[in-house]
Symmetry: C2
Subunit: 348 residues, 2 copies
DNA sequence: AAGTTCCATGTTGACGTCAACATTGACGCC
DNA sequence: GGCGTCAATGTTGACGTCAACATGGAACTT
């Protein structure tokens, strides 16, 4: 069962419509672009002709003529993470709603060379702007050289970035988590951090640390994971047997899951012996055992705001290097409770 | 802090390179396309000139000239699901490796109108081919009218589709899960199915059913969820209190997670009282409590094979409506065990 | 009535690339 | 030496669209 494909076929062009409607190509163009300087009756005739011949505009020709494509490029290193795919989905719907299409450019190892290459390719393809979604921070070390004049919005950026950026308010989220545990009466809060090359992880870690400092609490060393449940499980081994550990803030829900499992295995109850707070609020977290108290971040909002900012930049032609921070929210479930013996502890 | 963007700027074109190198534009074109009928020395001169002026080919012009864009379109309804994002990631890397870029086209409600529209838009954008990743099956009811001659590969398709398709071998996976539980000595296997509008869900359900029939076992009614952990949890209520239920095959890992939680809440032990098998093998499943026995499917492989098939179709110009089936694998962990009282049971 | 304005429409050319054809000149062969 | 061959390079035009300018005529002004 094999069918011949008529390759390289082209659809009808404006010229065909023009012939059919008995007008010039330019008039067709005007109708297609919704200009108002066309007689009502002529417009209708053209519209009918379009329908009859099945005309559809050719974006390649438009792009060639106009220099741009009504398309935005997305450079991503984290496509299949929970947050990444959520954000991408929001970006895609927002862009499509505004009549832009999405050109995806994955980057496996976000070295400066690779990212520069990705930019070049997108520029060649005449995208109108680029969204960068790279959680790795190696990039700020050496400046990325960007095609001049291509609008860019960075998601999850180094705060000192020169580009407009949109991100979850990581610091606020970490404060929420840490202070929640402190408020329950825990002496201090341990932390399983994300990988050090991640902006988000670093900001959560610093904010956790600062919060403890602000409250005058001892600051345990942070354990460093890589976002995976596996790493949470592994690192948890060091926490499980220390009775001083009564509260842990984990930099994402997946690592929290690993931690929960390790705790179960050692027979330590959650939240009885140890309280746990995650970060992200993935759909599954409600169904962890116990249901996880966590910091919800709105990836959808981040994606939408980023598209908005980029489209602004594209249409106005000016870039304001402002940083949009999307707020977080603490979602209380069943993995946190006051510490078992609170006697003898005093809030300094 | 606001910088003026030089909008609509264009990079140097072949003409600029030609002038710089003192040759004709055509020679530059030949060098750029790697033709061999150019003198070695001339080629070098052109290459140098390209570097000097910073030439980069203009894909819009190429697309206009050649009719196609070296880009493949992806129509997706399930972008942010575990499988969807995994598959997309694989598609993106495979395509980029072959020098194609990805144009993403999300479809929120995969009605036939919306999908047809998505096709049109992609065709306008001169994509070379389209990958369709829509789990909903409403689509086969009324034929989708596709731009003639645009190569298409469908992922997770209705088997009777006229297009080449690539998919996980759902039936095999369900057999693996069901027979594993039967082999452990369970009398029969309950099933929490995915939503009826999903091809994959239906095939898993039918295959589970057929397997029970083949072994002459009683066939319980399937419970129908929607893939979410939430639905697994909700449906589990009906299973928890029935002591006859000793083995459950869940159509994905997330619903299995919901089931596990419900079972914990009712104080039923897994796998002691109830054995559970999932489907997908998401990264987290290893860390569920207990670690979940599940059927692993390789989304990466599906994505890669799909790109391969599409690129074949694009380059050869012929479409073989063959169906590639990617095998699954049973991953044994700790959520299954023989039933408590096996006395009196015999394998017919 | 002659001039002015304005609107609907047409004509031309350029965006960057590349296939098809044309040109040039070096080399080999009888 | 004349002729064919072939390799390297150049010239022309077309892909589809649309800005800029040109045209032609109706309506309006004085």
């Amino acid at each position: 069962m094999s069918q011949q494909l008529s390759r390289g076929r082209r659809g009808p062009s404006m010229a065909d419509v023009a012939r059919e409607a008995g007008v010039s190509g330019q008039t067709v163009s005007r109708v297609a672009n919704g200009r108002d300087n066309v007689d009502q009756e002529t417009r209708q005739r053209v519209l009918d002709a379009m329908r009859r011949v099945g005309y559809r505009p050719n974006s390649a020709a438009r792009a060639l003529r106009n220099g741009r494509f009504r398309s935005i490029g997305v450079i991503m290193s984290t496509l299949s993470t929970f947050g990444g795919s959520r954000t991408l989905e929001a970006i895609a719907s927002a862009a499509v709603a505004r009549g832009y299409s999405i050109t995806l450019r994955p980057v496996v190892h976000p070295t400066q060379r690779e990212v520069t290459g990705a930019f070049s390719r997108l520029d060649e393809q005449a995208v109108d702007g680029v969204l960068v979604l790279i959680h790795e921070r190696e990039l700020d070390e050496s400046e990325i050289e960007l095609p001049a004049g291509l609008p860019v919005v960075v998601i999850d950026a180094n705060p000192r970035s020169d580009y407009p950026s949109v991100d979850t308010d990581q610091a606020e989220g970490a404060v929420l988590a840490t202070e929640h545990l402190l408020a329950l009466g825990h002496e201090t809060v341990w932390h399983i951090a994300g990988p050090p090359h991640s902006y988000a992880a670093e900001r959560r870690r610093k904010s956790w640390q600062a919060t403890l400092a602000r409250h005058g609490r001892p600051i345990p060393d942070a354990l460093t994971g890589d976002w995976s449940a596996e790493s949470g499980y592994r690192l948890a081994q060091r926490l499980c047997d220390d009775p001083a550990v009564t509260a842990v803030f984990t930099a994402n829900d997946q690592m929290a899951l690993g931690l929960l499992r390790a705790l179960h295995e050692r027979g330590r109850s959650v939240p009885g012996d140890v309280s746990v707070v995650g970060f992200d609020d993935m759909a599954e977290s409600r169904f962890f055992w116990p249901p996880l108290t966590t910091v919800r971040q709105s990836f959808g909002e981040v994606g939408r705001r980023a598209v908005e900012a980029l489209l602004d930049e594209i249409t106005t032609g000016t870039a304001d290097a402002t940083a949009v921070r999307v707020p977080t929210e603490l979602v209380l479930r069943s993995s946190t409770t006051p510490p078992r013996s609170q006697a003898g502890k005093s809030d300094s």
